[in-house]
């Protein structure tokens, strides 16, 4: 079974990768315990940065869809449930909330945080 990534899609590449892999698992094309390609192999085949693939793998692992077994490789999680879905917006909210809480605790005001956030978004976009 193959997965396809569209470079012109507005959806981030790692998110496409996650939804493609999730679709393969949900359709039963990959069963729990089946081996998956390494990060490097997938990055080379898709001509993507290995950090992009690593991020997708990390999030899939967090959602217990895949399981990294050290040098033996990566496998479909033995308890990968078919209705498991990754909540990207929830993840963003959670990560940002933590960062805002930390900044407030260190004495930053709301306007300073907003200005800082806006600058970071400009730099990274």
């Amino acid at each position: 079974m193959e997965i396809t990534i569209d470079l012109e899609s507005p959806e981030p590449l790692y998110a496409q990768l996650i939804s493609e892999m999730k679709s393969v698992i949900q359709r039963g094309l990959k069963k729990p315990g089946d081996p998956l390609p390494s990060i490097r192999q997938l990055a080379n085949d898709l001509d993507l940065n290995s950090k992009t693939v690593a991020k997708a793998y990390r999030l899939l692992e967090r959602d217990q869809l895949i399981q990294a077994r050290g040098v033996r490789g990566t496998y479909v999680h033995p308890e990968a449930s078919v209705d498991n879905s990754l909540d990207i917006s929830g993840l963003v909210t959670e990560e940002l909330s933590q960062a805002v809480r930390r900044l407030k605790a260190s004495g930053a005001t709301e306007s300073e945080i907003r200005i800082g956030f806006s600058q970071v978004m400009k730099q990274t976009s």
Binding site: M1, E2, I3, T4, I5, D6, L7, E8, M21, V24, L29, K30, P35, L36, P37, S38, R40, Q41, L42, N44, D45, L46, D47, L48, G73
Partner: protein, 280 residues
């Protein structure tokens, strides 16, 4: 005199096989491929304009024809010049390398096409199956190649009892070992490296890797046997056959490699509907 005539005959075969028959067959295969899978229906297959492919074909034919002419000139020189045959092996080897030059240039051109394909492709495909070296290596052939390679060690030790120059045959051992390491690295990079054709079907890629592994193993076996033969010719004072053996070796390599370059049973449908790739 007979030895020199024999070398000239084998050398003529080398010219006709590599610069004649194989070059012509390669161009015919390329043309037939273009006719069977035209750019209008399979635009993703042709990232460059049609003129580029015609130029590549023309350059290949001209380069092969020039190599053929050089071969004929050498042959005429060999037939009309009194000689002792001590340089025959160098002539066969040097000319063999010259004959492969058009193929190397063609391969460079193919690399440029694949790079262009990658640059213009808007989609990427990958198989969700881990690839391992042992999956593409044919076990029996691998066993045979290992057996032949390992037999080179006792052979060199045996040869060492004779007065053999060049470190008593150990140099051959070093060269063959280096070549095998090089082949391993080459295959490793192909198996674990970047996918060159972004549209290639996963099964086609697997088949291509298996073909490459088979070819490298066959070349490894042929090179090891050739090294043993070269040493034997020297030890048993049959150096007058060295030129013939070198020429036959190059012809054998060409025959082994030829089928790998002309796989036709591939999935060409992946190159359809690529209007974006063609117009880029």
């Amino acid at each position: 005199m007979h030895n020199q005539l024999l070398f000239c005959l084998v050398f003529l075969c080398q010219i006709l096989l590599i610069s004649g028959w194989m070059a012509r067959k390669s161009v015919m295969n390329m043309r037939s491929l273009h006719l069977s899978f035209p750019p209008t229906e399979y635009p993703r297959m042709y990232p460059f304009p049609p003129a580029h492919y015609e130029r590549v074909q023309r350059r290949f034919m001209v380069a092969s024809a020039m190599a053929g002419v050089v071969g004929i000139v050498i042959l005429v020189y060999l037939l009309n010049t009194p000689r002792d045959g001590s340089w025959d092996h160098a002539i066969a080897t040097g000319y063999g390398l010259l004959q492969y030059l058009p193929l190397v240039l063609w391969e460079f051109s193919r690399r440029a096409e694949l790079q262009m394909m990658r640059d213009t492709a808007t989609t990427r495909r990958a198989q969700l199956v881990p690839r391992r070296m042992l999956d593409v290596l044919p076990r029996k052939l691998l066993g045979l190649a290992l057996l032949v390679y390992l037999s080179l060690f006792p052979f060199v030790v045996y040869v060492n009892q004779f007065d053999y120059p060049w470190f008593g045959g150990y140099l051959n051992l070093v060269i063959i070992s280096g070549m095998n390491v090089g082949f391993f690295v080459m295959l490793f990079l192909q198996v674990h490296g970047k996918k060159l054709d972004p549209y290639q079907d996963g099964q086609d890629r697997q088949r291509h890797l298996q073909e490459l592994a088979r070819l490298l193993l066959l070349v490894s076996i042929a090179a090891t046997l050739f090294a043993m033969l070269t040493v034997s010719l020297r030890v048993f004072d049959l150096t007058h056959l060295k030129g013939v053996s070198h020429s036959l070796y190059f012809q054998l390599l060409a025959l082994l490699a030829f089928p790998t370059y002309h796989q036709r049973n591939l999935d060409y449908d992946v190159y359809k509907d690529g209007s974006q790739a063609a117009s880029a």
